[in-house]
Symmetry: C2
Subunit: 174 residues, 2 copies
DNA sequence: CCTATCATGTAATCCGTTACATGATTAT
DNA sequence: ATAATCATGTAACGGATTACATGATAGG
């Protein structure tokens, strides 16, 4: 049982395993794609390697299917649950940086109007997608995902506004 | 002259070198700290290694001081300028993900009120910092940094609003 | 049957972070 | 002088991305 460092990736895997119970990497991929993946994507390879790391640390267990494909199945352990719980309960969260590539370009002198065109459509598309998810969300969905989605919507709206104003400043309140 | 891949870090270094002319890694660090570092920080080690990479690719040149410390001095080459120009002119910018650790916690069930306390003060602090920079900005500062800062301000404001509403929903428009 | 696509993994590479180390200035 | 901080690097490590490879399933 090695010491391993828990990264955001680790918590995503732990969180998904907590929700899903036993799952294969591909199962995790599917789960992630429909949920947390909307604002934090993982490479598929990570969903194979990260559970291995977590297993080495005792946060998950690995079993193998008996039948034909003998796929690897992972489950969260008590230790994993504790770690997840501790993480969730700790309000000291590292600050994220904006780290928008488009912002970098803007900063270093790219033409705002040109950039804006692409950014507006990208952010609008994402916004539409988020709103569709929200409108189709069954009442059973937990608060967390709902609130996270709400943040995503706000963010996209604000970015659309920002780029729209950059692209065509109509005085203000156009 | 090797093929190297240009990452956002590369463009930051190139962009800073374009602004600064010849500079040492430490000089770059100082420059970055007062500008782009507000929304995209680099480790100091990167400011020593990245210029080396760029030199290997022919995007910058390295010279050494004649005098005592014989520090390394980097300058952008024509090739570097071209690369920077092409990057700036290409509106096809990768989409950034939100990747807020706090959002991850929220998603996976952390207590919103508890999280909010920390987030509100962090985002308020950043907002205050940004506003101070904006208010102290000399008229000579280029559009790019100014607009990037504006985006940062909007972002922080929106995040403050979001967490405030989560922490204490006063109906709406409290 | 054949070919997409879905699914399951491993290996190599590389960038970013962290840690280590030391030289030069400045302040006390 | 000496401590503190500023400055200048190198080395090790590790996680994330990318590339490679192959097996299973479904659709035509």
């Amino acid at each position: 049982m090695q010491e391993i460092r828990l990264t955001p990736t680790s918590y995503i895997v732990l969180g998904l395993l907590e929700l899903a119970g036993e799952s294969t990497p591909y199962g995790l991929k599917q789960l992630a794609a429909g949920s947390v993946g909307h604002f934090w994507t993982l490479q598929h390879a990570q969903l194979y390697t990260e559970p291995e790391r977590l297993a080495a640390g005792g946060y998950v267990t690995r079993t193998r299917e008996d039948g034909g494909r003998r796929r690897k199945l992972y489950s969260i352990t008590d230790r994993g649950r504790e770690a997840l719980e501790e993480w969730r309960g700790d309000p000291a969260t590292d600050r994220a940086e904006l780290r928008e590539p488009s912002l970098l370009k803007l900063f270093f002198g790219a033409d705002p109007k040109q950039l804006a065109a692409g950014q507006i459509s990208a952010h609008r598309a994402k916004l539409t997608e988020y709103e569709a998810i929200r409108d189709g969300m069954p009442a059973s969905v937990a608060e967390g995902p709902r609130q996270a989605l709400d943040m995503g919507i706000r963010y996209e709206r604000e970015m659309v506004r920002f780029w729209e104003e950059l692209a065509g400043p109509l005085g203000h309140r156009g």
